[in-house]
C-alpha cells in the first residue's frame, strides 16, 4: 500500500486541499479507501471509474437508505459510477469541516429523486418510504404526511418544494449538521 502518496504530485495535492475541506493526510486517507475498493483498477489508472455497486459496499454507505441517490448526485458521468475526484468531492461535502450551506445544497439534490430541481409529491413519498424501512406507512398516512410537509414548508403553494423553501426549513434545524455527516 506504499504507493498512495506517490500517485499524486505535490501540485495536485495542493489543489485538492484548496478545493475540498480536507488536509493532505485526509486526502491520502480517502484515496486509500477508494483504492481498497478495487485495487487492480485503481492501480492501473487512478482516474478510473468504479461501478456503483463497489461504492455501495463501503461499510459507511452499506446501510444508508439513500446510498444510490448519493452516488448519483456526485457522479460526474450521471450513472452512479464514481471516479476518485467524485469520491473526494463526496467525502468533502460529508466531512465535519464542510459548512452548512454546502450540505444543504447537496441534501436537496440527494432528496430530489427525479432531479428536476423541485421536491414534488413523488419525491417526498420516496424519501419517506426509504426512511421507514420495513414499517411502511399506509397510503392514507402517507398522504397526510405529505400534506403536512407541504403545509409547513411550501410557501408559494405550488405543491412542490423549491430549493429556497427547503433551505428555509433545514437551515434552522439543530440536528442537521450532526446527522448529515460521514466519516471515513
Amino acid at each position: 500500500m506504499g504507493g498512495s502518496s506517490s500517485q499524486f504530485t505535490q501540485e495536485e495535492l495542493k489543489e485538492y486541499q484548496e478545493l475540498t475541506y480536507f488536509t493532505k493526510k485526509e486526502i491520502l486517507h480517502v484515496f486509500k479507501r477508494f483504492y481498497l475498493l478495487d485495487p487492480p483498477s485503481v492501480r492501473a489508472n487512478k482516474n478510473a471509474r468504479l461501478p456503483k455497486e463497489k461504492i455501495w459496499s463501503l461499510p459507511e454507505l452499506k446501510v444508508n437508505p439513500f446510498k444510490d441517490r448519493i452516488c448519483d448526485v456526485f457522479s460526474s458521468s450521471g450513472d452512479g459510477d464514481l471516479s476518485f475526484e467524485d469520491f473526494l468531492d463526496m467525502m468533502s461535502v460529508f466531512s465535519d469541516a464542510a459548512p452548512k450551506n454546502v450540505k444543504v445544497e447537496y441534501a436537496f439534490k440527494v432528496y430530489d429523486f427525479d432531479s428536476d430541481g423541485y421536491l414534488d409529491k413523488s419525491d417526498l413519498k420516496q424519501v419517506v418510504d426509504r426512511l421507514t424501512g420495513e414499517q411502511k406507512l399506509s397510503d392514507t398516512e402517507m398522504e397526510q404526511l405529505v400534506d403536512n410537509l407541504f403545509e409547513e414548508a411550501d410557501l408559494d403553494e405550488d405543491d412542490q418544494l423549491s430549493f429556497a423553501e427547503f433551505e428555509h426549513v433545514i437551515s434552522k434545524a439543530p440536528d442537521f449538521i450532526n446527522s448529515f455527516r460521514i466519516r471515513l
Binding site: 484548496e18 488536509t23 461499510p59 397526510q144 434552522k172 450532526n178 446527522s179
Partner: protein, 680 residues
C-alpha cells in the same frame, strides 16, 4: 468596470497555446467567475457577459497598479470561495487554474513592496496549512470514536467527543501549572529537607512508607510538589523567579482560561443554531429531512433507526390530527408534554446536578470547619507553646537577632515539638482522595452493572424461563446524560482543588485517559443501541451551560479562600501574609512605579467600582432588550409570511379572476378602471 479587462489581455498574450482553444475555455471560465461575482457582489449585477468578454482589451499598461491589485484580491477571493460552490471537481479545478494563472502572471508585475506583501501572505498561508496538516496527527482515539459512531449513532458518540475535549482542556491546565509553578519549584527551589516545611517531621517518619499513609496521600507525598504546603514563600528563587506571585497568578489564570475556552465553544455552537425558532414549527420536515443519522454503519442500529423514525412520524401525525380536530385537547397534550421523556430526563439531570453540587459543597464546608478547628487548636497550642518558647529564648537570645520571623517560628516549633498543621495541604489531600476514589467507584460500577450483567444475560439466557435479552434485565443502555454529568462533576472537583494541589490536573489527565478506554470498551462490549432515540436537548449548548455553571460554582470557594482566610503560617507560598490576595498589592507597591499604586487604589474604591457595576448592569439590560426585540421581529416576519400565503393568494386569485372577466367582457375602459379601483 475593468474587472475583466486584464483577463482579456491574458487571452491575447498567451502565444504558446493554440489561441482559439484557450480563448474559448478562458472565456467560459470568465463567465463562471462572473457568475460567482454576481452572486456575491451585487454592485456588479448590471454587468453583462458578452459586453466585457468581447471588448477590445486595453493593454496592461493601462490597467493601473491599483486595478491589478484589486483584481488580484478578487481572484484570491474566488479561489477561497470555490470549494463552497456545489460544482463538480472538474469545474472547480478549471476555475482554480484560471484564477491561479492570472495570479502567477500578474503578481510578478507588481512593485517591489507589494510583491513582498504578497509573498509573505503566500508563505503565511503555507505555514498555516502545514500546521493544520500537522495538527491532525494529534487527534487521539479517532478510530475508536468512529466505531462507536457507526454502532450507536451521533448522540452516544457526543459523550466521547466531549470527553476528548475535556482531555485537551486538562492538558492545557496541566501545562500551565507545570510550567509556571511545579517545575520552577522542582528545579530551582530549595530541595526536600532543607526547611521544616519541606521535610517529613520526626514523629511521622516511622509511618511515612506505610500503605495506609500513601493511600491518604501523606508521608513523602504530603511534603512534595504535589501540595500547596511544599512551596516556599521566598520572594524569589533561583535567579529572580517570583514563585508566590506566579502561584497566585496561575491559580487565577486557570479559571480565566477555562472560562474563555468554554465561552468560545458555546459561541461557536450557538452560531449554528439560530435563536427564536419555535420548536414545533417544522416538526415533520425535520423528522423527514434530518431524521437519518448518516454516521450509522451497522444494520442493527439502522433497523432501530428505521423503527424510531417510523414511530416518531406516526405519533406526531396522531398528535397533530387530534389538535386539529379537537382544539380543546391541545391543552391536554400540553399537559402530557410535561411527562414527555425529554422533560423527565431534564428533571433527572437537574436532580443529579444538584446532588453532585451538594456533595462538593458539603465537602468544602466540612473542610472549612476543620480549618477553623485547627486554627483554634493552634491558638491553644500557642498559649502553651509560648510558655515553652519563653524558656528556650532565655536560653538563646542570640537566635532572635540573626533570623527573621518565619525562620524563628520554624526553629522554635521544631524545638518545642509542636505539630504544625497546614490546612491547605489537607484540602489538597481530600481532593486527591476524592478524585481517586471516584475513579475506583466508576471502575467497579461499570464492571458490576454493565459487564457482569451482560455476562449474566448472555449465558444464563440458555437456561432461564423468559428471554433475558429481550425483556428484563436485558443489556444495559448507555446513559449519555448521566455520564456527561459525571464528567462535569469530575471537572468541577479539579477546578476546586487545583489551587491547593497543583498536580491535580495531571492526575485528571490520566484519569480521563483511563475513563476513555474503560467506557469505550464497556459500551461496545456490554451495551446495545437505544431502542427509543431522542436527544436530551434541542441545542448542543445544554451540557456546556452546565459546565459553565459548575465552573462558576467551583471558583467561589477558591475565591473566598484567596480574599478572606488567613493562610497557614508555616507552609505554602503565602505564609506570613494576612491574606493570600495581599501579594498583589504588595508586588505592585514594591516593583512598579508609585503612580500605579495610587491609580490601583483609586480603582478599587467604591467611587469607581459602583459606576462600573452599574454600567455592566445597564449593558446587560440593553442586550437583553435587543434580543427580545429581535425575537419579536422574527415573530412578526413569520406571521407576515403566513399572511402572504393565505391572504396574498386570495388577492392574486381575485386579480386574475378580475382580469379574466375583463378580457371576456367588452374590455371597456370604465370596467377596467372599476376593477382597478377594487384591487388595492
Amino acid at each position: 468596470m475593468p474587472v475583466l479587462v486584464p483577463l482579456n489581455v491574458n487571452v491575447r498574450s498567451l502565444d504558446h497555446r493554440p489561441a482559439r482553444k484557450s480563448h474559448i475555455s478562458i472565456r467560459r471560465c470568465q463567465r463562471e467567475n462572473l457568475d460567482y461575482l454576481r452572486r456575491n457582489f451585487s454592485s456588479l449585477s448590471n454587468v453583462k457577459d458578452s459586453d466585457d468578454v468581447l471588448k477590445p482589451g486595453a493593454s496592461d499598461e493601462d490597467a493601473t497598479e491599483e486595478e491589478i491589485l484589486e483584481n488580484i484580491q478578487r481572484q484570491k477571493e474566488i479561489i477561497a470561495a470555490i470549494r463552497k460552490q456545489p460544482w463538480r471537481m472538474k469545474k472547480k479545478l478549471k476555475t482554480l487554474k484560471v484564477a491561479q494563472d492570472y495570479l502567477e502572471k500578474y503578481e510578478g508585475k507588481l512593485s517591489k513592496s507589494r510583491g513582498y506583501q504578497e509573498a509573505t501572505e503566500r508563505v503565511w498561508k503555507k505555514i498555516r496549512r502545514e500546521l493544520a496538516n500537522f495538527a491532525t496527527f494529534f487527534i487521539p482515539w479517532d478510530t475508536r470514536i468512529k466505531t462507536i459512531e457507526s454502532y450507536f449513532g451521533s448522540v452516544v458518540a457526543s459523550y466521547f467527543i466531549f470527553l476528548r475535549w475535556l482531555f485537551w482542556i486538562n492538558i492545557a491546565l496541566s501545562i500551565l501549572m507545570l510550567s509556571f509553578v511545579v517545575l520552577p519549584e522542582l528545579l530551582v527551589g530549595l530541595p526536600y529537607g532543607s526547611l521544616p516545611r519541606k521535610a517529613v517531621p520526626e514523629p511521622e517518619m516511622h509511618r511515612a512508607e506505610n500503605i495506609a499513609t500513601i493511600w491518604d496521600f501523606g508521608g513523602y507525598m504530603k511534603f512534595s510538589v504535589l501540595f500547596y504546603g511544599y512551596y516556599s514563600n521566598q520572594k524569589s528563587i533561583g535567579s529572580g523567579y517570583q514563585l508566590p506571585l506566579a502561584y497566585f497568578l496561575t491559580g487565577i489564570g486557570i479559571f480565566v482560561y477555562s472560562f474563555a475556552v468554554i465561552l468560545r465553544k458555546m459561541a461557536k455552537n450557538s452560531r449554528m443554531a439560530k435563536l427564536s425558532t419555535e420548536d414545533d414549527q417544522f416538526t415533520f420536515c425535520w423528522k423527514v429531512f434530518c431524521g437519518w443519522d448518516y454516521l450509522i454503519g451497522q444494520s442493527d442500529t439502522a433497523d432501530n433507526k428505521f423503527a424510531a423514525i417510523s414511530t416518531g412520524i406516526r405519533v406526531s401525525m396522531v398528535v397533530s390530527i387530534i389538535t386539529m380536530v379537537f382544539p380543546v385537547f391541545f391543552d391536554l397534550i400540553g399537559q402530557m408534554e410535561k411527562y414527555h421523556p425529554r422533560v423527565m430526563l431534564q428533571w433527572q439531570l437537574a436532580r443529579i446536578m444538584v446532588l453532585n453540587l451538594g456533595n462538593l459543597y458539603t465537602l468544602m464546608i466540612a473542610l472549612f470547619k476543620k480549618v477553623n478547628n485547627l486554627n483554634a487548636s493552634w491558638a491553644l497550642q500557642n498559649v502553651t507553646a509560648s510558655g515553652m518558647i519563653q524558656e528556650i529564648l532565655q536560653l538563646d537570645e542570640h537566635m532572635l537577632e540573626t533570623a527573621n520571623d518565619t525562620q524563628v517560628v520554624d526553629t522554635l516549633t521544631r524545638l518545642a515539638g509542636i505539630k504544625e498543621q497546614c490546612w491547605e495541604t489537607i484540602v489538597g489531600q481530600e481532593m486527591y482522595k476524592l478524585s481517586v476514589f471516584d475513579m475506583i467507584a466508576t471502575l467497579v460500577t461499570t464492571i458490576i452493572v454493565d459487564f457482569l450483567r451482560g455476562l449474566f444475560v448472555r449465558f444464563a439466557n440458555y437456561c432461564w424461563c423468559w428471554d433475558l435479552e429481550a425483556k428484563i434485565p436485558g443489556y444495559g443502555e448507555f446513559g449519555v446524560a448521566e455520564n456527561v454529568l459525571h464528567l462535569i462533576y469530575n471537572q468541577g472537583m479539579i477546578w476546586m482543588g487545583a489551587f491547593f494541589a497543583p498536580c491535580l490536573p495531571v492526575l485528571n489527565v490520566l484519569k480521563l485517559i483511563a475513563l476513555m478506554y474503560l467506557r469505550s470498551w464497556a459500551v461496545i462490549m456490554c451495551n446495545t443501541p437505544h431502542q427509543r432515540v431522542f436527544r436530551a436537548s434541542r441545542s448542543n449548548n445544554f451540557y456546556f451551560v452546565l459546565l459553565l455553571i459548575m465552573l462558576f460554582l467551583s471558583m467561589l470557594p477558591t475565591g473566598y479562600v484567596m480574599v478572606s482566610i488567613e493562610p497557614s503560617r508555616n507552609c505554602g507560598p503565602f505564609s506570613g501574609r494576612r491574606r493570600m490576595f495581599d501579594i498583589i498589592p504588595d508586588t505592585v507597591r514594591e516593583q512598579f512605579p508609585a503612580w500605579l499604586t495610587t491609580v490601583l487604589s483609586y480603582m478599587s474604591t467604591a467611587g469607581v467600582i459602583l459606576p462600573v457595576f452599574m454600567l455592566l448592569v445597564m449593558a446587560i439590560y440593553y442586550l437583553q432588550s435587543l434580543v427580545r426585540s429581535y425575537k419579536e421581529a422574527n415573530n412578526d416576519l413569520r406571521i407576515q409570511l403566513q399572511y402572504e400565503r393565505t391572504e396574498g393568494k386570495k388577492k392574486v386569485y381575485e386579480m386574475s379572476a378580475a382580469k379574466n372577466d375583463q378580457s371576456d367582457g367588452s374590455g371597456s375602459s370604465h370596467v377596467r378602471s372599476r376593477h382597478k379601483a377594487q384591487v388595492p
